[in-house]
Amino acid sequence: MDRLLSFAFQLSLFLILAFIALPILVVLAASVSPTTTITFNPSEWTFQWFTALTASRWLDPFLLSIKLAAIVTALSGLLGFLAAYAVAYQKCPGHETIMAFLVSPLAVPQIVKGVAIVLFLSSSGFYSLLGTPGLVMAHIILTLPFVLRMIAGAMYNFDKRLDQAGRILGATAAQRIRFILLPIIKPGLFSGMTFAFILSFNNIPLSVFLVRPGETTLPITVINHMEYSLDPVLAAVNVASLAFILTAILVFEKIGGFSTQIHGGSK
């Protein structure tokens, strides 16, 4: 009985993992297949679809998405740090209420936030903010709560005696932040920022309302193109952007060294 159960368990595990991997494998195969029909025969594989990516119709949105994600990551890291410093580190009066307010956008669906922002910009006359500025602001509203939570988590665990020690040894407030606080919360800060980068780079529900001509992000360009055709160039675009995301994570990991934290979290 137990053996049967264990077999059923392993089978279901395998099937579920296959389900997870399936569409990604299909896209990988499609991106190297010579025709619109997918081939799994490696001798026929080609990289011709990837050469189409250098055209400005794909390159421009790609660059915009990178730029957007970079700005959003930096700003939400900065804003998240400031907020966490006041709320989690200094525990200012009413810090619990303020924290609840700062993470409240999490409770609102993205598409609702998107509508609210576009209606606000339209009906109050800030049309000129549509496009990159609007996208940056909307994405920050999305990423800030995540970044804030991760930094705050690191700060709650921070041993205040370290700060006292620094103070006793005559370090100024700025020095203590830079040499004591920042190095310790760095993994939290960087995992939050990595998360912000991925969220912004892949975002659809907010961007769909806020892009503007000549300033369209990569995921929106792809879904627009999907309404016309399902050609293999799309697969190549998707594979390229996945490769980019993975590279970005590696780079963040290299700087931030947060993998120990994630690993610790999963144990």
């Binding site: 970079a70 309404e227 016309y228």
Partner: protein, 347 residues
């Protein structure tokens, strides 16, 4: 120390990217998909060469989405020239979202057929005419089709592709089906809805973009469908066994217009671009390239093009012309009826 260097790096990145250079590009919003190339080759590249202006091509969104964007931004949608239909030109003009096009600013507008100019209103420059045609696969239906009612033929059950209501083709189909079945274009449309509902029952389904509908004809899943004749002509010339006709009950034209949003940042170049597209030579290039009709009666095009397109006074008079602003007011109501009476009938 390391951290501060990283901070400086991050700030440097923002500083380098944040102040977006104000673009001196002319942004033109038009059809996406495979048709982009024809526009680039026939209109945009010659224009860029002649005026030394850099054109950015924006293929995002259907005409109605472009209009919604124009409205949501109070006439500052980010594009300088936008291809829409005459009915959106009328609405946009009435709401003050589009730049009125005077003969002084766009001299070529005086060469257009006055009747069509009147239909499109002050803000829309009619740069092409298509009509709703009936397309079929010659290999499946060798004897061809001649009437809108042929779509309901039993042989075509499960072989017809339909547009979604977001494609203006749907509203036009209601109009012509209504006329075919004893109703009229705008008010007496129950027969039209009934016929299209019956059509939906035996249809393959609905697709929003014309480019996707086209795939169904290409691979033979669809044997017949309503389709814009310009695109139908291109399909025919690509070597597919496809033909199309202006059905005997008549048809409705798709009057496509060039528009300049009131808040365009490059208005001068935008008007120049509109004027350029209406030049006799550009119109000839466009009509022969994209296989459409023209509102300029004085263009010289081959006879075989003329035979299939709307280019003359007589062609124009044979068309069914709904009152476009009345039609656009009925769209929300028709849209609801479409979802309720038509979409629910499909498999």
């Amino acid at each position: 120390m390391k951290t501060s260097r990283q901070c400086a790096l991050a700030v440097g990145f923002i500083a380098a990217w944040a102040p977006d250079a104000i673009s001196k590009n002319l942004i033109v919003n038009s059809y996406g998909g495979p048709y982009e190339e024809i526009i680039r080759e026939r209109i945009i590249e010659p224009f860029e060469k002649k005026f030394g202006v850099n054109v950015t091509y924006d293929a995002v969104g259907s005409a109605s989405q472009d209009y919604a964007k124009t409205k949501a931004t109070g006439g500052r949608p980010g594009f300088d020239v936008v291809v829409m239909t005459a009915s959106q030109s009328l609405d946009g003009c009435r709401e003050g979202l589009l730049q009125p096009l005077t003969a002084a600013a766009v001299p070529n507008i005086s060469s257009l057929n006055p009747q069509l100019r009147a239909i499109a209103g002050e803000c829309g420059a009619v740069h092409e005419l298509q009509y709703l045609s009936l397309v079929w696969r010659k290999d499946k239906l060798p004897e061809g089709l001649s009437s809108w009612s042929d779509l309901l033929d039993e042989r075509l059950s499960g072989k017809v592709m339909l547009p979604t209501f977001q494609n203006v083709m749907a509203a036009y189909l209601i109009s012509v089906m209504s006329v075919t079945n004893g109703g009229d274009l705008l008010d007496e449309v129950d027969p039209g809805f009934e016929a299209v509902a019956a059509l939906a029952k035996g249809s393959l389904g609905f697709e929003q973009s014309s480019a996707v509908m086209e795939n169904y004809i290409k691979d033979g899943r669809a044997w017949a469908m309503p389709f814009w004749n310009g695109r139908a002509q291109l399909l025919m010339e690509s070597g597919l066994p496809v033909d199309y006709v202006r059905p005997k009950e008549g048809t409705v034209p798709l009057i496509a217009t060039l528009n300049v949003p009131i808040g365009s940042e490059n208005k001068e170049a935008a008007l120049e671009f509109v004027n350029f597209w209406l030049e006799k030579t550009s119109q000839e290039a466009w009509v022969t390239g994209y296989k459409v009709g023209s509102a300029r009666p004085d263009i010289d095009v081959p006879d075989e093009v003329r035979a299939r397109q709307i280019t003359t006074e007589t062609d124009l008079n044979a068309l069914l012309l709904p009152d476009l602003s009345a039609l656009s007011q009925r769209l929300p109501q028709w849209g609801a009826r479409w979802e309720r009476e038509v979409v629910t009938q499909a498999r």
